[in-house]
């Protein structure tokens, strides 16, 4: 890997993101259109300026026509990518590589997901084997990690539940301030602690919802970005670590840390030239599909070596030293799978530009922001990371 090959070569000149939530009135095409046209307007361009596109969805469609049909693109090179919950970063990464090598100038990256039409509690089942692993659930798979993690670290059930509840309360607080979030409602610690159990030890408020939404980025070479706007945002680097998916079965895998996440972070920090993420990052959008995931990711991303202490000290709150999930994260902003990575970047992009909708949630002096959705579950993760940065010239 040549870590410097991508840094600052490509910039985001426009972004769009639909309201996340139970979008009963919109189908996936509607959400794609809404995200795309917000991004066009933001970049000051129109559909005819797009030269190529990457689109992503996990459960809501397939192939390039997923994008070309609603947006009426005529004969463009469009590729559908899928990498589970990391899909939103994957469309951007593939688009950025294409622009960086000089094949295209103005490229769209779109992620969209329509989950609320399935009528299911939770996600559709991705497992295809008739008996092995079938019938398992996403919270159940993360709960296996939680049970082991807390036991191995000698953290009592009460302490553990409290730490997880604090993450949920923080993310709901942040979501309540974010106009496009699925849940715009504060919750109390007591509510979180007394919620019904979904998959022990995870309760209702430890789990993110299923959500509809779409998010979009328009990119071009940094050398051209000024043509479109002054406050374009630089792409600093990516990380993607697809593990061998054998942790649940690996006798040596201990559920105490997330090796894939650590590996992806190493790649991304190298590409972005980050030495001390806790000091250098202004914000981090992480994959809080379940609160235990956010807790374990603090450590895996190198943001702390003692997550429980930092949760207690409020390090990751909006007012803290390193705000994590300032828009509410998956927990409160929602998780339309393939849209999530781009939604995270939308938050960083707007925070860097000083356009975080409400003054209460605008962070100060935002220079670098990390986004990390990760597919799979402990032992079988595929974390995808992107890092965006402010123009320093």
């Amino acid at each position: 890997m040549n870590p410097g090959a991508i840094r600052d070569k490509v910039s985001i000149i426009g972004m769009g993101c639909t309201r996340f939530g139970e979008n009963w009135y919109e189908n996936v095409d509607d959400m794609i259109i809404d995200a795309a046209y917000e991004a066009y307007d933001d970049a000051g361009i129109g559909p005819d300026d797009i030269e190529a596109a990457w689109c992503g969805t996990v459960f809501s469609g397939a192939r390039g026509t997923f994008l070309s049909q609603p947006l009426k693109f005529r004969n463009l090179p469009i590729t559908r990518v899928e990498n589970a919950c990391g899909t939103g970063i994957e469309v951007l990464r593939n688009a950025v590589h294409a622009v960086a090598c000089g094949v295209y100038d103005v490229v769209m990256a779109m992620g969209a997901e329509k989950l609320k039409d399935s009528g299911l509690s939770g996600l559709p089942d991705g497992e295809m084997h008739p008996v092995y692993g079938q019938g398992g659930t996403a919270p159940g798979r993360w709960a296996l990690a939680a049970t082991r993690y807390f036991t191995a670290k000698n953290i009592s059930t009460e302490q553990a539940k409290l730490a997880l509840a604090k993450i949920a309360v923080k993310n709901h607080h942040n979501g309540a301030l974010a106009p496009k979030a699925h849940f715009q409602k504060e919750i109390t610690l007591e509510q979180a602690l007394s919620a019904p159990i979904i998959a022990w030890p995870l309760g209702l408020f430890d789990c993110c919802p299923t959500t509809d939404g779409a998010a979009c980025a328009i990119i071009c070479p940094t050398s051209m970005a000024k043509k479109y706007r002054d406050d374009y945002v630089l792409i600093k680097g990516f990380g993607l670590a697809v593990g061998p998916g054998w942790g649940k079965e690996d006798f040596d895998y201990n559920y105490e840390y997330l090796p894939e996440t650590k590996a992806a972070a190493k790649q991304a920090y190298e590409q972005a030239g980050i030495k001390n993420p806790r000091e250098e990052l202004s914000l981090a959008n992480v994959h809080d599909c379940f609160t235990i995931a956010e807790l374990m990711e603090y450590e895996a991303l190198g943001l702390t070596d003692d997550p429980i202490r930092d949760i207690e000290e409020g390090t990751f709150t909006l007012e803290g030293a390193l705000p994590v999930n300032p828009d509410g994260g998956l927990k409160a902003f929602g998780h339309p799978i393939a849209a999530t990575g781009l939604r995270m970047n939308y938050e960083t992009y707007k925070q860097i530009q000083g356009k975080a909708q409400l003054p209460e949630r605008q962070l100060k002096d935002v220079t670098l922001g990390l986004s990390m959705p990760q597919g799979g579950h402990p032992g079988r993760l595929l974390p995808a990371i992107s890092i965006l940065g402010r123009r320093e010239d």
Binding site: D125, L144, K248, E249, F251
Partner: protein
């Protein structure tokens, strides 16, 4: 003559339902005791595998060349149970698999055929498994009386612990107890007719003939194992036959297990063998469309083998079903809300291709670095050696819980569904947990493996292995007394 039984074992599901609880549901009087109830993930196939494992725990299965399965309550009317059981047990390919069914005495009929096959030399060792989970209609006497259970025997002529001295059989035609192929529940005719012309007449005839031919008298028998539809009729019959109820007649376990149909007399036999001394004579008689009778004699080897848990161990390890409603749901007699989770799918192709690990529960061991994998892997995760492995069966291994969750979102007839990663010595297995008390699961807890139904996607049972808390061994039960 050395033809006989070389090993034996049994299985009784962990759940019991108090007859009082059934009576509560229907506002009727309660017969005494309780009955055993198969968990929602059990059927006669899974119980047969459990009984066979109990029987074969110390046997070299490579010597077995027959697998006979007898039941009146197979999950299939056309599809062999014996072949499925043989595959789950990793018996070798050239095993004669046969199902016996459609009669209350199909268990003893299968036993007779096994003796005959070994005697004739066409088989050397035959595994015989008899399992029953007969369904009585809600509010019927059958619902109160029928229990679930299984037995297994290894039939051979090398080192029997009990030899067969004589056998007798006759067939008879009568509508006593039956179930048509479009009927879900057992039916019976007016009981005085059934008893006098069916049960009493047939068993008396068979017992008197076999004793007469063998020139034995009542006092020669240490134990008498005779099928009986209920305790009162059973007592009445053995009195007619002149056996001493207190010293000779083997308890039917009707108050602990219930009427296990084709398994019943054979479960009594296992109970008797568990307490036998060398050179005990035992009389066995079943009933159903005629009668099979046998005279056995234990050998000096009788103390040598016994089931890992046997009847005694399985009886000592039990949990009560909380309610009749739960029983009704376990037997799928009530339509319940399925929840809003994805449909469970299946594939006969995949189940067939993966039968070595789905049914036979075999891991692979990398022959380069020695590490084990479940499910089997072609490329070693540790040393990346390719296609250099051997299969290692895991079903007998015991282990501990490495991590677990109690999942209320997962579809399960008895939530929460417990998923666990389990360490079976040096291999990790991800599986469901069954027969568990949700309030009593912890990391490090000892577990063993059990063959169960996972779901019915595709409209048929999809079998696989689950872990469960260790059931105590018969020896441990004795110590704790």
């Amino acid at each position: 003559m050395t033809l006989g039984i070389e090993a034996f074992g049994a299985y009784v599901p962990i759940y019991r339902l108090k007859r009082q609880e059934i009576a509560r549901a229907w506002s009727t009087g309660a017969p005494p005791g309780e009955k055993s109830v198969a968990n929602f993930d059990e059927d006669t196939i899974t119980m047969a595998v459990a009984a066979a494992m109990d029987c074969l725990h110390a046997t070299d299965i490579g010597t077995i060349d027959g697998c006979y399965f007898a039941t009146n309550s197979s999950p299939f009317t056309e599809k062999q149970g014996a072949a499925l059981i043989a595959t789950a047990l990793n018996l070798r390919r050239e095993v004669s698999t046969i199902d016996f069914t459609d009669s209350l005495r199909c268990g003893t009929t299968a036993m007779k055929c096994a003796f005959d096959a070994v005697k004739a030399g066409s088989s050397n060792k035959i595994l015989l498994v008899v399992a029953e989970s007969r369904l009585g209609a809600p509010r019927s006497e059958f619902e109160q009386s029928c229990g679930d259970g299984a037995v297994a025997f290894l039939i051979g002529n090398e080192r029997p612990v009990v030899v067969v001295k004589a056998s007798y059989t006759h067939g008879d035609e009568i509508f006593d107890v039956w179930k048509g192929n479009k009927e879900e529940f057992l039916r019976t005719h007016e009981d005085r007719f059934v008893l006098t012309q069916g049960y009493f007449a047939n068993v008396q005839e068979a017992v008197s003939k076999i004793m007469e031919r063998q020139k034995v008298t009542n006092n020669d028998f240490a134990k008498v194992c005779i099928y009986g539809p209920d305790s009162r009729r059973h007592r009445e019959l053995v009195k007619k036959l002149g056996f001493d109820l207190k010293t000779q007649v083997q308890d039917q376990l009707l108050n602990e297990v219930g009427n296990t149909g084709a398994s019943l007399a054979l479960m009594m036999l296992v109970s008797a063998l568990e307490q036998s001394q060398p050179n005990d004579k035992i009389l066995l008689a079943s009933y159903g469309s005629g009668c099979d009778a046998f005279i056995f004699e234990t050998t000096p080897e009788i103390g040598r083998v016994k089931g890992r848990l046997g009847i005694e161990g399985h009886l000592a390890s039990k949990r009560y079903l909380a309610s009749y409603e739960k029983y009704i749901m376990f037997r799928q007699l009530m339509v319940t809300d399925a929840g809003r989770r994805p449909y469970l799918v299946s594939s006969p192709t995949v189940l067939w291709r993966d039968r070595k690990w789905v049914l036979g529960f075999s891991a692979t061991r990398c022959l380069d670095c020695g590490r084990l994998f479940f499910p089997p892997q072609r490329v070693c995760y540790y040393c990346r050696s390719k296609d250099n492995f051997e299969y290692v069966p895991l079903a007998k291994r015991q282990g501990t819980i490495y991590s677990f969750t109690k999942d209320n979102l997962a579809q399960c007839p008895d939530p929460p569904e417990v998923f666990a990663t389990v360490h079976l010595d040096d291999v990790r297995v991800f599986c469901r947990m069954t027969d568990r008390d949700p309030d009593n699961i912890s990391i490090g807890m000892p577990v063993e493996m059990t063959f169960r139904r996972i779901h019915e996607g595709g409209g048929y049972p999809n079998y696989f292995w689950k872990c469960m808390p260790m059931r105590k061994t018969a020896d441990a039960v004795k110590e704790s007394k």
